[in-house]
């Protein structure tokens, strides 16, 4: 029996196993249960690009890390406190992350000599002292699951698929979590297969009861609910939040939503999500390729819809020409790029921020496009909404730069009702407008949107240069320069409609840490921990990249050092350096397909604070 319950402020748990072991599902069940319990949290799913990489090898290891807390949680944590390890390969791939004294739960059935050899161990880590410095919990998970499900009469391979639930049951016991949420999840997931509901529930309970019985788990842990702002919360993944932000923008603007997309990791979940919501009139069109998907979206935009297209880096490269057409025709369009490791096919399931320059400049001609980046899984909702608002009100394509870490990550979200969102007022040209010209502009530099089907406003747009105001084809050199300038000015003026940049921490002083997009959670924790040491440090984390907030220069000028941290070789820093040529920027970069760790960041910050 257990001796005690320890109170923890926060804890990092990582589930690792073969890519067929159901680790993503196990991790998200623990996440959802903890969210409903009231913890703050952040997740980091880390899985191979192959659907079923060779079993039992390091290449096939799939992991799901979740950081839960009684305090506010901003990132999935650097190192796991508890590693739930389903096989020898998963242990090999993760052992270097675990500090001495932390807990490792292993399925001893998956550590036979052959398993260890296949994974690449010399000898058996359970027997040769490799794990002596850890709190090792040995459990024959596979055989106990088999035993627990003996009465079901199910085939062995089906029985063994439930072993992840056994492991989850053990972890639920360790962390004093109720099983009822997962039980009702299983009932819904396998509604048409009652024997699977039964088997998974049996395995879950067996794992829970096993953990009560064995003495290896000397204490259980309690992570009390976090103190969060009052409100109604839900747990939400970044890609889902992105999709919902567009649904909200469609409702607010009164424009039907059209998604043109082509499946690509890690962006496909936005397509999957929007394909469900035809109730709101959303048309999710899976096109024959990336190019067709953006072209169909521009067609829908011309026809009057809120049109979006979703992709990842390689797909953005293919869409470049069409985005240029949307720039030239001045039609609203949102392009979502859920960035992954590049160049080329790169690291499809890993996160990176290396498409910033492509987003800013990856088109022919003078082709300015607003670029916006969400910074947490749940604010993907806000920035998808904001990107739509800017696209519709300023008649321009807008690039939304999410990334794999944000898209697949999850956290609790204080739900915003649509009443709390701003209005969206696209410049629709009404029937009966006299002498309307397709390229005449309002004070924001924005042209009107005349939708096919409106009598009297018939007009043509296209990729050839347009004569100012009339929109007729024009090859006049003076006119071309004027049009390039007008299009650039229109994007610059958007700075008047976005919030000023804020600084977290010290408002002036020694070191300003600058980040953008998905690195926010790591940078925030790292800056906070250095702030606690009494250092002179602040964080300016950018969500609006083009145009930059109007006070950007002013902020930079308040600090001795400006350190730009990003998951690439230095793209934002290049952009800032080009924009503010008289200022000096330092840089800290990482391109490993992984988020920043808080530890590596604080170490870097301290170099500037000596």
């Amino acid at each position: 029996m257990t001796n005690s319950t320890k109170e923890l402020d926060k804890v990092v748990i990582k589930f690792v196993g073969d890519s067929g072991d159901g680790m993503q599902l196990t991790g998200s069940q623990f996440t959802d249960t903890s969210a409903l319990f009231g913890n703050d949290l952040a997740t980091y799913p880390d899985y191979p690009a192959e659907i079923r990489a060779p079993q039992g090898t390091v290449a096939g290891v799939s992991g799901f890390q979740v950081h839960i807390g009684h305090t506010r949680i901003h990132n999935p944590g650097d190192n796991p406190d508890v590693l739930v390890c389903m096989n020898a390969a998963a242990l090999l791939a993760n052992l270097s992350l675990i500090e001495a004294g932390k807990t490792i739960i292993v399925d001893t059935d998956s550590f036979k000599q052959r398993d260890c050899e296949k994974a690449g161990w010399e000898g058996n880590p359970l027997e040769d002292g490799t794990l002596d410095s850890y709190n090792l919990v040995e459990a024959p998970i596979t055989s106990l699951t088999r035993e627990a499900l003996k009465e079901t009469g199910m085939e062995r391979k089906h029985v063994e698929r439930s072993k992840n639930m056994f492991a989850l049951g053990m972890v639920y016991f360790m962390f004093n979590r109720p099983m009822k949420y997962t039980e009702s999840f299983l009932e819904q997931k396998f509604a048409s297969k009652p024997d699977l509901i039964n088997a998974n529930k049996l395995a879950l309970r067996a794992g829970y009861n096993f953990a009560i019985t064995i003495e290896a788990i000397s204490s259980t842990y309690s992570v009390a609910p976090a103190k969060m702002e009052p409100g109604v919360y839900r747990n939400i993944m970044g890609n889902v939040a992105t999709a919902w932000g567009f649904l909200a923008a469609s409702e607010k603007s009164g424009r039907k939503l059209f998604l043109g997309s082509y499946p690509i990791t890690p962006a496909s979940d936005i397509l999957h999500e929007l394909a469900k919501y035809k109730h709101f009139g959303c048309r999710a069109f899976q096109a024959e390729d990336e190019i067709a998907s953006v072209c169909a979206a521009i067609g829908a935009s011309y026809a009057g819809n809120l049109a979006i297209t979703t992709t990842s880096g390689p797909g953005l490269a293919l869409k470049g020409e069409a985005i240029g057409l949307a720039v030239s025709t001045e039609l609203p369009l949102v392009i979502v790029n859920v960035q992954r490791g590049g160049p080329s096919t790169g690291l499809p399931t890993k996160t990176e921020q290396s498409d910033l320059l492509q987003a800013l400049y990856g088109r022919n001609g003078e082709s300015p496009v607003p670029v916006i980046a969400p910074s947490t899984p749940n604010n993907c909702f806000d920035y998808a909404f904001q990107a739509s608002k800017i696209a519709l009100e300023h008649m321009t394509p807008v690039l939304l730069l999410s990334d794999g870490y944000l898209g697949n990550g999850a956290g609790p979200w204080k739900i915003k009702s649509t009443a709390e969102l701003a209005d969206i007022n696209p410049p629709i040209v009404e029937e009966g407008t006299e002498n309307w010209m397709p390229f005449e502009r309002d004070e924001k530099g924005v042209r009107g949107w005349a939708v096919p089907g409106t009598p009297g406003l018939e007009h043509r747009v296209g990729g050839l240069e347009k004569q100012n105001i009339t929109g007729n084809v024009s090859y006049d050199p003076e006119n071309h320069e004027l049009m390039c300038q007008l299009r650039a000015d229109k994007i610059e003026k958007i700075a008047d409609f976005i919030p000023e940049q804020t600084i977290h921490g010290n408002q002036k002083g020694k070191l300003l840490v600058v980040g953008w997009g998905g690195t926010y959670g790591s940078l925030l924790d790292a800056v906070d921990s250095v702030l606690l040491e009494g250092e002179s440090i602040g964080l300016a984390h950018f969500n609006y990249i083009n145009p930059l907030p109007k006070n950007t220069r002013e902020i930079f000028e308040q600090f001795e050092h400006v350190l730009v941290c990003e998951l690439n070789l230095g793209q934002f820093v290049k952009y800032l350096g080009g924009t503010f040529q008289d200022l000096t920027f330092e840089q800290y970069n990482k391109v490993k397909g992984k988020p920043f760790g808080v530890g590596e960041l604080t170490e870097e910050f301290r170099k500037y604070l000596k």
């Binding site: 048309r283 915003k416 043509r460």
Partner: protein
């Protein structure tokens, strides 16, 4: 139905100067379209012309309708988005042999496969005009052009075969020298629900002049044009005494009154036949062994993609528990912190 104004072809001409080469076949096609539209009983604001890149793709600028001059090869994708966004629009895609079959080959076949309700007018002059005279995917093998000075090595596409291969349901062929026939076929194509693909044998006076001359020349055209009409025998020739019969698995030209052949023996055109075998044979006929098949070769009814989309939207809407986005945001597992 709402009252529709009486239009003439002039209502569909824009104020822009038409800038094709003098003598270009495109002029006749433009006029034939402008004459077809008033016959359709549709409001002017519901027509949308979309093109890619190429000589023919300047077309939308000359039409006083909604229109877009889009990207090289991509017009079917734009048209698809437009039609899904607003199924009430009458969407016309203007394209050429390079635009549709080279750079845009993928989008071309996928539009046909989906049977989205648009009209595709393919101006086939078997050459690249706007880039000044390179061989195209429909140029005869061996053609000498700037990019094939020793003769092209490519086997040409037969556009109609691609339509069948992509499971297209409507295919017609016309010549740019027969404006009345063009107007009539354009009307029929718009009345067909689904992707209507019309191949227009069009002459490029500058880079590939008289490429279709054998079929269109005044003195030979009767012998080399077979005007197909659904339910009518496949008869042609100046004397209206030639026809097609099946000999084994092949078509054969026969003369009525010779070798005991009567009109009863001549094949009757069935454009509505789902099976593509005979349509395929008709599409492949080439002068001088055969006449070239013109008119509506295939028109087989089927579900359109845009209608299926609308039906699915309605079904989901009727069964949905969500009335608005707030219902979705607050659905499922939520918890309250007070």
């Amino acid at each position: 139905m709402a009252e529709v104004a009486e239009y003439t072809y002039k209502d569909f001409a824009s104020d822009q100067e038409v800038r094709w080469c003098p003598g270009c076949g495109d002029y006749a096609i433009l006029r034939a379209i402008q004459k077809a539209l008033p016959e359709l009983g549709r409001k002017k604001e519901d027509f949308l012309f979309i093109s890619g890149i190429g000589c023919s793709s300047r077309f939308p600028y000359y039409m006083n309708t909604y229109g877009m001059h889009s990207l090289h090869g991509r017009a079917p994708a734009f048209a698809t988005g437009m039609k899904i966004a607003n199924p009430e629009l009458s969407v016309w895609q203007i394209t050429g042999d390079g635009d549709a079959l080279a750079i845009g080959g993928n989008h071309f076949i996928h539009a046909l496969r989906r049977n989205i309700d648009i009209n595709i007018l393919l101006f086939n002059n078997e050459i690249y005009g706007l880039t000044k005279g390179q061989f195209s995917p429909t140029s005869e093998q061996g053609i000498k052009t700037k990019s094939s000075p020793q003769g092209s090595l490519d086997t040409p596409f037969i556009p109609g075969e691609l339509v069948l291969g992509a499971r297209g349901r409507f295919f017609a062929r016309v010549v740019d020298t027969d404006p009345k026939h063009m107007t009539q076929i354009f009307i029929e194509s718009e009345q067909f629900r689904g992707t209507s693909m019309i191949e227009i044998l069009q002459n490029c006076v500058i880079f590939n002049d008289k490429t279709h001359a054998a079929i269109t020349a005044r003195d030979t055209r009767d012998e080399f044009q077979l005007h197909l009409e659904h339910g009518k025998p496949m008869i042609f020739g100046k004397e209206k005494n030639k026809g097609l019969v099946l000999n084994g698995f092949k078509l054969e030209v026969v003369t009525i009154g010779e070798n005991g052949i009567t009109e009863e023996d001549i094949l009757v055109h069935d454009a509505h036949e789902e099976d593509t075998t005979l349509h395929s044979m008709l599409i492949r006929m080439k002068a001088p062994e055969f006449p070239v098949a013109l008119g509506v070769i295939r028109a087989v009814k089927g579900e359109t993609y845009n209608n299926l989309v609308e039906e699915q939207v309605e079904q989901v809407r009727a069964a949905s528990k969500f009335n608005n986005v707030d219902d979705l945001l607050f659905s499922g597992e939520t918890w309250e912190i007070s």
